[in-house]
């Protein structure tokens, strides 16, 4: 009789990384659905293309690194990176721009650092930032005009052709500046009321965008309910933006109002799906609060006084830099200790 030998514990919860990532993908689907409904087929095509390329480049690099390909592909993390890029990129982003973003995310930001779990920076945001800096025109002029699938959005074939062949037909009628971009540039010469009268903003907050953001918010709440993420980062992120807006941007004739900050850009996607990437985020509850709030503050700073209309990618990357530092100084107080042991051994703390 050969009895199985194992170190305790013998029982395990059956929720592997692959299933965690699958839940992330599922929770993002309402957002993707809203994007498709209100902006046409662009995001869906991007998502499929980015996921395929992410899996392909991950597989190729795993092979190069001599790692078991199937074992790592099955963890679904590359798919999530592809998904997040597909959701964030402008709807009509040329295929090669999104391709470069995906490959640099997977190869440079993830595999070259040692693969899953070893990357200091959020891979999807590295890819996004690289594309934004390298191809600013492609990344800013390809946002689809808000037009519902049933009311004027370009058809599937046309969208596909636009993305993959760069067809020039009727592009002007399809694209437009994002609401945040629009507000930022118009407010210098117009009043808030005049700016918000533009069709981009629709009847509610920002035509189409508000539904997309609410859908991502719903997906995020699901992730919190499933205990896949904790509330700390998203809440601190949103609180950071809100606090900055209330403190410095209460004058709508000068700065975009709070509801636009929260519901018109990539805020909800960033708060619940991007900033919460555990690998590159802070660890402890306190650390997560600092990390999330830092992203929120930076998003507001860049949007209001920087050159970019949206800023989730840069803010996340900047706070990724700060994570080791934050982690050193925010360990929890362990049971039976008077205070937390901050810092590094042999230095401060006690």
């Amino acid at each position: 009789m050969a009895l199985a030998q194992q170190s305790s514990p013998h029982a395990r919860r059956a929720r592997p990384t692959s299933r965690v990532m699958l839940w992330v993908i599922l929770a993002a689907l309402p957002g993707l659905l809203a994007q498709t409904l209100f902006f046409g087929w662009g995001n869906l095509i991007n998502v499929v293309w980015c996921i395929a390329l992410a899996l392909g480049s991950e597989a190729a690099f795993l092979k190069l690194r001599g790692k078991p390909v199937a074992f790592f592909l099955r963890d679904n993390t590359a798919a999530v990176t592809g998904l997040l890029l597909g959701l964030s990129l402008p709807q009509f982003t040329p295929w090669w721009v999104s391709g470069i973003a995906v490959v640099s995310a997977i190869v440079v930001a993830k595999q070259l650092y040692g693969g899953l779990g070893s990357n200091p920076f959020n891979p999807a945001m590295v890819g996004y930032a690289l594309a934004l800096i390298s191809f600013p025109v492609a990344m800013t002029t390809n946002w689809a005009e808000a037009a519902t699938l049933w009311g004027g959005a370009p058809g599937f074939g046309e969208t596909l052709a636009k993305i993959f062949t760069g067809g020039q037909t009727a592009v002007d009628g399809w694209t437009m500046a994002t609401p945040l971009d629009e507000y930022k540039h118009k407010i210098a010469s117009h009043t808030s009321v005049e700016v918000l009268g533009h069709p981009t903003f629709g009847n509610l907050i920002a035509r189409g965008w508000e539904w997309v953001n609410l859908a991502f918010l719903a997906g995020g709440v699901l992730l919190i309910a499933l205990r896949i993420i904790t509330w700390h980062i998203p809440v601190a992120f949103l609180a950071g933006i809100a606090a900055m807006s209330l403190a410095f941007g209460s004058n709508a004739d000068q700065y975009a109002p709070l509801q636009l900050h929260l519901l018109a850009g990539g805020t909800m996607l960033g708060a619940f799906f991007i900033a919460t990437d555990p690998v590159s985020a802070a660890t402890s509850h306190q650390g997560k609060l600092i990390y999330g709030a830092g992203i929120g503050v930076l998003v507001y700073l860049i949007r209001s006084w920087g050159n970019y209309p949206d800023a989730v990618a840069f803010s996340v990357l900047l706070m990724n830099f700060a994570v080791p530092f934050i982690d050193h100084y925010t360990p929890p107080r362990t049971y039976g200790h008077h205070k937390a042991r901050r810092g590094v051994p042999g230095r401060s703390g006690g």
């Binding site: 009895l3 194992q6 305790s8 904790t230 042991r341």
Partner: protein
């Protein structure tokens, strides 16, 4: 309603308790042999008080601890001591240890018992002694001698006595069933412990998934001041530190014991054993063990004699050997796998799980940590399990210690939730082991260094003292010589020297004495070539012969010392070699002087007269 606090973290694994609570506690059949390890408690192993071939009665002491901490071992039934040998014992390493093998004679004949009706008439010390003599050590897991635990230090008054009936580990129902069926005994034992400790509060903590046990215990404590606290089911609420936090809101200081904050936890089984020891006079020879898992057909709880081999117990519960994949002693969270089913039930054995492969499957391969933080959410000690994991894996033990590695209670909650299937607890055990080894080696190295330094200091000191003594002697000798010379001169000046020869003989005598003093002082010292000084014009053969014999004797002594030093490889060999060479020269010179003197005497016989 008792006020309760919560502890951070915790998990809700499938309980799997219903399988073993369907049947009442059964009495396990008598096995062919009982195997009784001599060490079932923390402390020193018990020493035998019986020999092979002795017949012992049920309850008779067969081994006891005379030096140091520990409790005796008793015969669980009457029979004959068949062997005293190394047998596999319940231990995570699968090691063997000294055991007494008892062959039951089937009569189950008790030794004389001395029950106490009213223990309150006795001295507390007498009751504690009885608890020790009954061989009771903590039956929850660690096996700390109960009588010692019940004697907290004078400055640590126990205000709250907690009886731990939480039993939070999945599968295990031994305490649950004991409370259901033997609530009166549990409370009786608890009362004895409360009487010893005189706490202001006495509370039984039971998880809310045991309604029958709660009802039974409530009935048993009716009319007493003992509280029954129903705590929410959450693993590891039965961890000592967690239960204390739930029931008192206080935390046991890191590195301390519950008594530091005036709390003590006792186990349900221990309470029953204490009650039996006092009221029935019976030692601890049996306990309730849960036998469960899908590889047994009739899971349940058994009243088992200590020493019963696990395979016997499994057979009693209807073992399906072909389905067995993993045999666990303890619960699925903190228990350990057995390599053999021949190990015996000991005082700390609370559960045996015979699991099938489907029930507790082998873990999937470890994946990279994605820092998801589920482990930190689950950790009841508020540690950062993933940082501890990184540091343990990288061998950065200093950092792991800085993040309170040693506060980890190894409850397994972090490994349980880890989506990457990382055996976190195993990494922590490894790191703890490495740090302990490093510390032990450091201690050894420190001791060796101290020893070396002490020896160096001693040698130096001796050298200095020797040098000092030599200088003092040299000074004394020089003074004496100066004095003698002055006297001799004075005598010569006074013209009192009637006999030249006598004066010269006196000089020879002085020189000899001087030489003796000097050579005795230090072998390194330059020999005084006194013979030539003295015997240059008027040889004294007798004195010279004496001198030669002395020098030869000295040489022999030195040679002997040198040989001895060589054989022992002492570090003064070189010095001794030089001394021998010098003495050798001295002997030669003395020999020459003597020869010369003899010749002189032979040539001028008249002048000597």
């Amino acid at each position: 309603m008792t006020q309760l606090w919560d502890f951070t973290g915790g998990i809700h694994p499938p309980e799997n308790k219903h399988q073993s609570t369907a049947r009442p506690i059964r009495k396990a059949a008598m096995p062919d042999r009982l195997v009784l390890p001599l060490q079932q408690h923390i402390g020193e192993p018990a020493e035998l008080v019986v020999a092979v071939g002795d017949r012992v009665l049920k309850g008779q002491k067969i081994a006891d601890v005379t030096n140091g901490m520990g409790v005796p071992v008793h015969a669980p039934t009457s029979g004959v001591i068949e062997a005293i040998e190394q047998r596999p014992v319940p231990h995570p390493s699968g090691m063997a240890d000294w055991c007494v093998v008892l062959k039951p004679d089937g009569e189950d004949q008790w030794c004389a018992l001395s029950p106490i009706d009213d223990y309150k008439q006795l001295d507390r010390e007498a009751v504690l002694q009885r608890i020790r003599e009954a061989g009771i050590s903590g039956m929850g897991g660690a096996g700390f001698p109960t009588d010692i635990k019940l004697r907290p230090p004078r400055d640590r008054k126990v205000d709250t006595l907690i009886l731990n009936g939480a039993e939070c580990e999945p599968y295990i129902t031994a305490d649950d069933m004991t409370m259901r069926e033997q609530a009166a005994e549990v409370v009786a034992g608890l009362k004895v412990m409360a009487w010893i400790l005189r706490p202001s509060r006495c509370v039984v903590g039971i998880e809310d998934n045991k309604p029958e046990a709660i009802a039974a215990m409530r009935k048993a404590v009716a009319g007493t001041q003992i509280e029954i606290a129903v705590v929410p089911t959450k693993y590891p609420s039965g961890g000592e530190k967690q239960l204390i936090q739930i029931l008192t809101g206080q935390e046991v200081p890191s590195g301390g014991i519950p008594a530091d904050i005036g709390v003590m936890c006792q186990n349900i089984g221990t309470a029953v054993a204490v009650g039996r020891a006092v009221f029935e006079g019976k030692p601890l020879i049996s306990r309730v063990v849960t036998v469960t898992g899908e590889a047994v057909r009739e899971p349940g709880n058994f009243e088992v004699l200590i020493g019963t081999p696990i395979h016997h117990l499994l057979e009693t519960a209807g073992m399906a050997q072909e389905r067995l994949d993993r045999l666990i002693l303890g619960g699925p969270m903190m228990g350990y796998t057995l390599t053999t089913d021949s190990v015996p039930v000991v005082k700390t054995t609370n559960c045996v799980i015979a699991a099938t492969a489907a029930e507790l499957p082998a873990p999937p391969p470890e994946q990279p940590c994605i820092r998801c933080g589920q482990c930190a959410e689950a950790c009841p000690m508020e540690l950062l399990p993933q940082q501890l994991f990184w540091y343990s894996k990288a061998g950065e033990f200093e950092k792991a210690e800085h993040l309170n590695l040693f506060d980890c209670i190894e409850c397994g909650a972090c490994s349980y939730v880890c989506p990457s299937s990382i055996p976190l607890v195993q990494y922590y055990r490894f790191a703890k082991g490495e740090i302990r080894t490093q510390r032990a080696e450091q201690l050894k190295a420190d001791r060796a260094r101290e020893r070396f330094e002490a020896r160096q200091a001693r040698l130096e000191r001796e050298q200095q003292e020797k040098e000092l003594r030599r200088k003092e002697r040299a000074k004394a000798a020089a003074e004496a010589q100066a004095k003698k010379q002055a006297e001799a001169e004075m005598a010569a000046a006074d013209g009192q020297a009637s006999d030249d020869r006598a004066a010269k003989a006196a000089l020879v005598q002085q020189a000899l004495e001087r030489k003796k003093a000097k050579t005795a002082a230090d072998t390194k010292e330059q020999p005084v070539p006194s013979s030539t000084e003295v015997a240059d014009d008027k040889p004294d053969i007798e004195a010279l012969e004496k001198q030669l014999t002395q020098a030869e004797a000295k040489l022999n002594t030195m040679q002997g010392m040198l040989d001895e030093a060589r054989s022992q490889q002492a570090d003064n060999v070189e010095k001794l070699e030089r001394a021998v060479a010098k003495n050798h020269d001295r002997v030669q010179r003395a020999q020459q002087a003597l020869d010369q003197a003899r010749k002189q005497v032979a040539e001028e016989p008249a002048s000597s007269q």
